[in-house]
Amino acid sequence: MSIGANEEFRPKIVAFCCNWCSYAGADLAGSSRLAYPADVKIIRVPCSCRVNPMFILRAFERGADGVILCGCHPGDCHYSTGNFYARRRMTMLFSMLDYIGVENGRTRVEWVSAAEGAKFSATMNDFVAKVTSLGKNVRLGDLRCKN
């Protein structure tokens, strides 16, 4: 899947979704037929707090152009407190990423409940548009992974 110079730029986007709220929200977006770009690929994790900053670095290293983390609304976490940890960790990680040149627009934390299919779809549309406008991510890429 190489992107030729004359082709329209399509970003690679990894979305981490917690099993209880956001993954269900994505399912609802699906069953309500609320479209969002195919560039978004979802990875299911039990809770947003399971997402190790390492996973996000790895994604950028392997050529992702944007990473979004979705969890339950603050206070609604299935495990009570998981999303609070995620929020703190990501605030810190994203500011460091911004510092080294991975713009803030490429990373996002969003709260999507199981009932918010429309929000999930709208969020993804918005995020893809944002990342597309930023273009290909050139930082952090592992040169050995070029294909």
Binding site: W20, R33, N52, A114, A115
Partner: protein, 663 residues
Amino acid sequence: MQQRIGVFVCHCGSNIAATVDVKKVVEMLALEPGVVHAEDYQYMCSEVGQAKIAEAIKEKQLTGVVVCSCSPRMHETTFRKCAERAGLNPYMVEIANIREQVSWIHKDMEEATQKAVILGRAAIAKVSLNTPLKAGESRVTKRALVIGGGIAGIQTALDIADAGYEVDIVEKTPSIGGRMSQLDKTFPTLDCSACILTPKMVEASANEKITLYTYSEVEKVSGFVGDFTVDIRKKARSVDMSKCTGCGVCQEKCPNKKAPSEFNRGLNTRSAIYTPFAQAIPNVPVIDREHCTKFLTGKCGVCSKVCQAGAIDYEQQDEIITEKYGAIVVATGFDIIKLDNYGEYAYDQSPDVITSLELERIMNAAGPTKGHLERMSDHKAPKNMVFIQCVGSRCSDGRGKSYCSKICCMYTAKHAMLIRDKYPDVNVTVFYIDVRTPGKNFDEFYRRAVEDYHVNYIKGQVGKVTPEADGSLTVHGVDLIDNKQIKMKADMVVLAAAIEPNPDIRKIATMLTASIDTNNFLTEAHAKLRPVESPTAGIFLSGVTQGPKDIPETVSQAGAAAVKAIGLLAKDKLLTNPCTAQADIMACNGCSTCANVCPYGAISYEDKEVRGPGIREVRRVAVVNSALCQGCGACTVACPSGAMDLQGFSNRQIIAEVDAICR
């Protein structure tokens, strides 16, 4: 060891196959390393489809299975059970969600197929690193908690008790009975509400399996399905329940009768020591400390003097009761919305503009007017009454609720009919947008209001209600069928205000970690197939807490919730989720970071002998209690040395997925 992976791609009829080139997906995924078998089928979840998976597992000695189909929330369990029957560990199955995440949201076939292949690759990458897991067991406390003592909670508790299990009802107000106890008559049979509710309340209080905690609130919930620990705050009643005989003298003699009556929706007042209504259960009064003279000034004590049983106890403190439960049923019910946003209806300006629930109290023989229909301003009998439907329901302007409150059309028909029956000289006009009467004998009921009782139904909304100087009200409405604006005089206006979930529900949902929707209704595990269960295991939904409902629906849902709770309580052991955290003792340095972030207290520390190349020493290391661990993974990220990992969602597995997606 290289895994032997089988890939199964489902067409889901045309649900997937219409936008994803299933054959192409099979072809592409067959090329992945480790894949020894790949096929597609119309319906993988069908018996034939499952047989294909089982057959391939046996014939090709598969060690891992990837099913590209619908959401794992839908059929993961189905395919895991299928694998287990075929002799494969059920946790060696992964699902690639190519329906909800691909075919249903994408239109372009090429793009969708490509995405399906990528999701398939991610699942294959993950399954290659899966390890067989075994579910543990946990015990079930054979006792249920019902939060809310309205008709939903009472019915659920009665049904659970009937099956032989202990059940506790926690009710916030001083008496059980809930919203239904405030109603006068019920549609469509016009049964007297109290006559059908009171026996149920009595039954609940008399049942030896049922414990009532009234004037109490749930304070804290911990634990998980089968083994919840709940703190219940029994608020100080200031009356000793064991001594009180319910004679009612204290309420009669109480000199402070200025507190607004909650039960009568503030239409009249009650004494500071009170039971909400005559048939209250338990029939033990409560001192409202915010209005009691004794508590406000220290001087009074009349109730204590007149109480022959010596039950009054001004010193009484709140009490916390801690109890263990296997299942929790939420039945917190509803209230009607505040009308602050609807100034045009003049609810705040005129006492003659009332809500339907207030009318319910006015028409009730035990209500503020002893059941006599009169204006609250001058106590005169009204001549013209106007009902306005959909006040705050079906709104998308941010002022009201987006949903239909469901019960208003029917209770308005009931009110209109009862008024026309009892006071034939009163003209009744109903402004409606749609009349919605799905339900057994419901439309016939509404038609009776029109045909037999000549209630004037006008299709159109009311723009505003103006209070006039002479005390009457002018209603500015429209008749959309006649295409005419209507300006009519009314003596009373009744607003069918939208219903909303009990405001306490947010707090309760957070304690239970039960998910809640944007309207504050609790979310069900599946909108169609699991309507009385919360996605959080062990939590069940009863009544309006799940969505707007009338009484018959509430009662049937209450029964359904009870059955689900009984099904859980009947089990001796539950299988636990084996996707729990595990510490690598070689890497653990015993720093306690993981224990600090664990919401379940599942991590403890032990001195263990660590053996490795050149190492043989005793270290303090983390040990996860897999019965307590719920598998959130907070510890795995917090661990500074990377010793913690989550089975089923390990670091290597998630990284493999990331790699496959970004490839």
